[in-house]
Amino acid sequence: MKLKSIVLSLTAMVMSVVPFSVSQAQDMEQFFPALVYRTGPYAAGGSGFFGGFEDYLALLNLRDGGINGVKMVWEECETAYNSDRGVECYERLKNQGEHGATVVHPLSTGITYRLIERATADKIPVISMGYGRTDATNGKVFPWIFPLITNYWSQNTAKIKYIGMQEGGMGNLQGKKIANLHHESSYGKETIPVLNVQAEKYGFEVKHYPVAHPGLDQKAAWLDIARRYKPDYVILRGWGVMNPTALKEAARVGYPADKIVGVWWSGAEEDVIPAGKAAVGYVAAGFHPSGSDFPVIAEMLDIVHGAGQGNISPQRVGTIYYNRGVVAGIVTTEAIRIAQEKYGTKVLSGEEMRWGLENLSISAERIKELGADGLMAPLTVTCADHEGGGPVKFSRWDGSKWVEVTDWIETDKSIVDPMIMDSSMAYAAEKGITPRAGMSMGSDCG
């Protein structure tokens, strides 16, 4: 008897645990997989981003009853920023919901690379907003990948422009030295080619310093930077715990924080607060500011957190990572709205969602309507240009908050576009992909 009851209860447990496909006909539900990471050295980014993203979807559900009556639903899967688990999570969640996953936000350049071919075969759009494979911007070769708003190479041109502004003009970059301290991963290595091209164009010298995962060991790199190489600027291309460590090491060897320029994955509150005083004066890029003064963020606190349905602790609402998640939510749901205009109010499939993303256009008025004025710049995506060409803003950490030091800085397409073309065509040749019709960037793909 005892054995039998154990077997029965075990069976019941396994049955309740086996993932089952949700098939509720009464409610229209648009399903999102959330490849979140709330553990490990990069947890601050994963929990903040998906906190904002899920809160925004919850806001639409609570305030408007979804998008035209279609509810937003999601399921989390913990990846711990591990590529293998990212693939596992993607495979687990991709077939849930009426038409499977709507879009995937991998929130990891490594996982994005793992998913590019899988998602292309499965016809599920991948939004790698501000990360991922840069040359996937060419939508003719990568029809299902959307590095929206601004990709890594574009960001990098804005960063060199910012450094040029500090030096009083791009001409003054001649002979300057820049150290690129990067995370040793596909994410970290992504900007090496574009930096080399820009170094040649503007006549500055660049030296790349890789830092092994998770980035706690930087003593040798910083000693070399501060004592031997003595660069005019250091680009910090870190992630997670690597960022505060870098700032602390810089302070230890006496390298001034205001000569360190961070990328947007090195520019959150969680990156500077642990470094304490060492971070004061440090400047980082961003495609959106932090702060909770925006009406949409205030509503989030009121409606979502007010109803006790927040997906993150209320103290973190309005931080950089949270706001990035909100921007991701806006971009994703605006694409759903546009696709619904064409295909009708229903649960969209991956292909319909891709049409929505390729025809995504968010004007300044629309941003104001959404209560996100100043939170993001206007954006227009086409089938050839999967980026949308967003500008970049720089903020300085004053010890308690991020203070914007520049207006929106436009990226330099003249450098990035030919590189994207070369790189993506090389990929197409290796993989035997025939690009969609109309070869120049910006033209229609039919």
Partner: protein
């Protein structure tokens, strides 16, 4: 009960020396293989075939490779990730540059490359043992990954250093329509790249792993395996009875690296589809070492049991947490609870049976033989 050897008499040496001397075992293994070949493709679940079973087989094979070296020959190694990377990038370049070679031959060639590299990094084992050797093998981990990171040729100059598996058929491009071997074209299925079906990838992985596991089983029962175990148990005594340490240790490194190399190639071609050096970092080497410690040192089956534990427990806990924990705890609490349970289970199993799952399985078998009066 059903596991009883009464009445099974052996009348010849081959019968007595069979891999599975008991008929019950033989039937069990054949049944398991039949289920493994038939059930997942029939179920049609990509999730089951891909991230669950293929991943299990790939890491089981890598763990088996390390187990040959560490469990049987007694040489501790932390270079597993590096050897997997050699196999992975070696196979990638072979397929990319010589598409005429059938994929299975590529796997063997990639394994041989890894074996050659393994022999070079096995040389320190002649002078040092134990933890010191583990530290020396770390060199391979860092050196090999550095090479793959910094020499662009290995990843075909991909800007992010990602090697992504080209589409390749089972028999290579010679067997395509119009090629010299085009009589093979009807069964020349695509087995790698985004257009390969999960079924094809799974069956190929399973077949490679079954063949290699069978080879390993025979290897460790024979002269080579006995020499390894002699070296492991007392190297000076082994040398005195005529086992040459140089040859034996280097052979262990070569064969172990061969298995790891094939596992690396399978990782890229039939499991994930692409890889950069992050996939083969030091953490990977440690994870595979944990697999054989938990599964059982010196056991073929233990390698797979350990791999199953390490690979499948986290997603299983995650599914349990997300299904049962809906609306009870916050996502952050559930994610951390998963880690706590995972760590706790490892401690529990090692405390209950320090020799690993393989020993547990052995005890269960002993008890079953004496059923219904086990002692």
């Amino acid at each position: 009960m059903f596991y009883r050897e009464v009445g099974q008499y052996k009348s010849s040496y081959p019968a007595d020396q069979a891999i599975f001397p008991l008929t019950n075992d033989r039937i069990g293994v054949i049944l398991i293989l039949l289920i493994a070949y038939i059930w997942p493709p029939l179920s049609g679940s990509q999730y089951l075939m891909g991230p669950i079973l293929t991943q299990l087989l790939v890491f089981g094979l890598a763990a088996l490779g390390l187990n040959l070296l560490t469990g049987y020959a007694g040489q501790v190694s932390l270079g597993t990730g590096g050897f997997m990377a050699v196999g992975a990038f070696g196979c990638y370049n072979l397929v990319l540059r010589l598409p005429e070679i059938p994929l299975v031959i590529d796997f063997i060639l990639a394994g041989l490359m890894a074996a050659a590299v393994g022999v070079i990094f096995g040389i320190p084992s002649l002078r040092i043992k134990g933890f010191y050797l583990a530290v020396a093998t770390l060199a391979s981990q860092f050196f090999l990954l550095w090479i793959f990171d910094h020499v662009g040729w290995f990843t075909n100059y991909d800007p992010a250093g990602v090697a992504s598996a080209p589409t390749q058929t089972l028999f290579g491009s010679l067997a395509h329509e119009g090629g010299p071997l085009d009589f093979l074209a009807p069964i020349d299925v695509i087995v790698s790249g985004p257009n390969a079906t999960p079924e094809a990838k799974y069956i190929l992985t399973l077949s490679v792993v079954v063949v290699l596991a069978l080879l390993a089983k025979n290897l460790v029962r024979g002269m080579t395996g006995r020499a390894w175990m002699a070296i492991r148990d007392f190297d000076i005594a082994a040398e005195i009875i005529g086992i040459r340490p140089l040859r034996t240790k280097l052979l262990a490194f070569a064969i172990s690296s061969f298995y790891c190399g094939v596992a690396g190639a399978l990782y890229v071609f039939t499991y994930v589809g692409n890889a950069d050096t992050e996939a083969f970092d030091l953490i990977r080497s440690f994870t595979i070492l944990f697999m054989i410690i938990i599964g059982g040192l010196g056991s073929i089956m233990g390698s797979f049991l350990g791999a199953a534990f390490i690979v499948l427990l986290p997603p299983f806990l995650n599914i349990v947490a997300s299904n049962l924990g809906e609306g009870t705890l916050s996502g952050a609490a559930l994610a951390n609870l998963e880690l706590i349970v995972y760590g706790g289970t490892i401690v529990f199993f090692l405390a209950v049976e320090p020799l690993g799952f393989a020993r547990m399985w052995q005890i269960i078998k002993e008890k079953l033989r004496q059923w219904p009066f086990p002692y």
